[in-house]
């Protein structure tokens, strides 16, 4: 029964997902024009290239295609702007330029008058299976196309996905950057206002949600009617491990979100929390107080629940695991000297844990950045509330990203290491925000109910 409800929810969740039928989820297919590969557009005098991203051209006259063309231009602009690799000609001045109706009619001289270095032109055409999108990036000076690709096969119900793919392709080919426009964020939310059963206390159900990286298309993925918290994406982006109190005792479950199936990693009477996937997706590091005495230690377990071994062995609290990108080390927090601090230990558990944070009164929830950065973001107690800080693992320099605007915690890196998702109370209730690793570009992703414990998908 639960599974059939889950299946329904998942099906609804994936309805707008290009090729989201049974596994694996296929993105729209693309065709690269072979003659137009990878010539980067350069800006003037070392400045970032200035791009213009007008609305796409609707090649079919129906209202749906026209609407999609408009959405694609806007979403692509937002996606590209997110990484700050390009400068942009503001969209509100585009109105002065005649709209092209095909690739052949682009008024390059007019765009050059606006000092555009590059111009993205896209077309949208209605086809049997949905829409076909063609995108070209022109060098405005030479009037040559330096990028051209065709996208098709995605559901028309989710045109945003096309823009996200284009953005990632442009970042990769033009800036050698792995964009995150196709990634997603998962989090726990009480927005449905459901109350826990089997208790006389007034307690809100929390379920696991996912959303696009920009906060769009927020979708519930668990239907457990209980406390479901601390979701973590599997490295392949197809599963979410989380801590569920569905059977009274907290256990690690995995939801395979494209198959609508659920696996139990742990079961029984021992409590288990805070799963962290190994980079190869075969193992999870979890925290458990199973030995008693109020001690919590870390364990590594295979994804199917077999092969459990103790990683830390200290008569204190050892929790909040995160793997290094190479999979050879695990950072965690321990209160062995008083309040929690961040430590690192080999993933084989051999050797002494090495203390990382030395200037905090309280530091928890380390999250290890992906390459090319080698940083650990964490939650630090900075006053009545908490803030997000980042420590460089080579220099041990600490920088602070939030400064007491509400309480801020639970940082999670984007897969390119350039952004961090976290929970903040600055807007009232707990909400998910993203911020650049520089501390700029704060963006609120959620607004309904309380939303917390974010994790950013690798894909």
């Amino acid at each position: 029964m639960k599974h059939s409800i889950l299946a329904g929810i998942i099906a609804a969740a994936l309805a707008g997902w290009p090729h989201a039928q049974q596994p694996p989820p296929q993105p729209p297919t693309t065709t690269q024009q072979p003659s137009e590969i990878g010539v980067p557009i350069v800006g003037e005098a070392g400045n970032p290239p200035r791009l213009a991203v007008p609305d796409f051209i609707a090649l079919s006259p129906d209202g749906e295609t026209v609407a999609i063309a408009k959405i694609l231009g806007q979403v692509l602009w937002d996606d590209l702007n997110f990484e700050h690799e390009f400068a942009f000609i503001p969209r509100d001045v585009y109105a002065s330029i005649p709209k092209a109706s095909s690739f052949a009619e682009v008024p390059f001289d007019r765009w050059r008058e606006l000092n555009a270095d590059g111009l993205v032109v896209g077309t949208v055409q209605k086809v049997d299976a949905g829409v076909k999108v063609e995108v070209r990036l022109y060098d405005v000076r030479s009037r040559r196309s330096v990028f051209g690709k065709e996208y098709s096969g995605g559901a028309a119900a989710n045109p945003r996905r096309y823009a996200h793919m284009v953005s990632d392709d442009l970042h990769l080919t033009q800036r050698a950057l792995h964009g995150v426009a196709q990634t997603r964020v998962t989090f726990a939310s009480d927005r449905d206002g459901e109350r826990m059963k089997n208790t006389v206390q007034k307690r809100d159900v929390k379920e696991i949600y996912i959303a696009d990286y920009d906060g769009e298309r927020q979708t519930r993925v668990t239907v457990n009617g209980t406390l479901n918290v601390f979701p973590r994406w599997s490295p392949d982006g197809r599963s979410i491990a989380y801590t569920s109190y569905g059977k009274g005792t907290p256990q690690i479950l995995i939801s395979n979100i494209f198959q609508a199936t659920r696996e139990e990693v742990t079961r029984g009477n021992d409590e288990n929390w805070l799963a962290a996937w190994s980079p190869d997706g075969t193992k999870l590091c979890i925290a458990s107080p199973r030995e008693g005495h109020g001690y919590t230690n870390l364990y590594v377990v295979n994804r199917d629940g077999s092969g459990l071994r103790k990683l830390t062995n200290h008569p204190s609290i050892n929790t909040s695991p995160t793997w290094s990108p190479s999979g050879t080390q695990i950072a965690f927090s321990s209160d062995r000297t008083g309040n929690p601090q961040v430590y690192v230990i080999g993933a084989d558990g051999v050797g002494q844990a090495q203390r990382i944070t030395t200037s905090e009164s309280y530091a928890d929830k380390p999250t290890w950045s992906p390459a090319p950065y080698n940083e650990i973001a964490y939650t630090a107690r900075t006053g009545p509330g908490n803030d997000i800080k980042v420590i460089d693992m080579a220099t041990r320099e600490v920088r602070q990203l939030t400064f007491g605007e509400g309480s801020n915690e639970s940082p999670a890196f984007a897969p390119n290491g350039r952004h961090i998702a976290f929970t903040s109370t600055r807007a009232g209730k707990k909400q998910i925000f993203t911020i650049a690793r520089t501390g700029k570009d704060l963006k609120q992703l959620t607004r309904s109910g309380n939303n917390e414990h974010p994790d950013w998908s690798a894909k």
Binding site: T199, V200, Q201, R203, K206, L227, V229, F230, Y245, G248, T249, P250, N269, E271, W273, L274, A287, P289, G292, H293, G294, T296, I317, T319, S320, S333, D335, N339, P340, Y362, D364, K365, T379, R381, P384, G385, N386, S407, E409, S410, T423, E452, H453
Partner: protein, 188 residues
Amino acid sequence: MVRRIAVILTAASLAAAAACHKNKPPVARPMPPPATNTAPTQPPAPPDPVREPTTVPAEPVRDDAIASASLDDLNRNSPLKPVFYELDRSDVSPAGQKVLDENATVLKRYPAWAITIEGHCDERGTAEYNLALGERRAVAARAYLVAQGISADRLRIVSYGKEFPFDAGHDESAFAKNRRAHFVITAK
């Protein structure tokens, strides 16, 4: 000790008062002294029956009311009181020990009860660390009860970290209520 005797006296006099109005009087027994009491003095004999109606104190609840209540009703107005903790701490304060002494007394009177001790935290700690801290609070409460002679088999533990605050406020008075071990009766 003085307070304990007072409780016993009250219970005994209540029982005696009840005896005047019922066919089957409940039996009032002196409670066993706490395990830590090295030289127990003999509890005083129950006083003579009181014929005048007395004001019924809120606690302890009369045996028959507790015995007949549903688990939900019991938990809604629980005879087991929560224990509160200091910020970042899990040691049981003297005030907490007093509460646990009284909870132990109730648990001894109802040996069939099984309970879950929930560990909770305020919002100042992190969500992640608070799971382990809540656990340690629940463990501390259980250890104290076990030392009072309550079988560990009756005492299940679960930590909710800061996921279920008792008071949704964001000031110290709310925080103080949220740093707690909460007792749920799960079987009777």
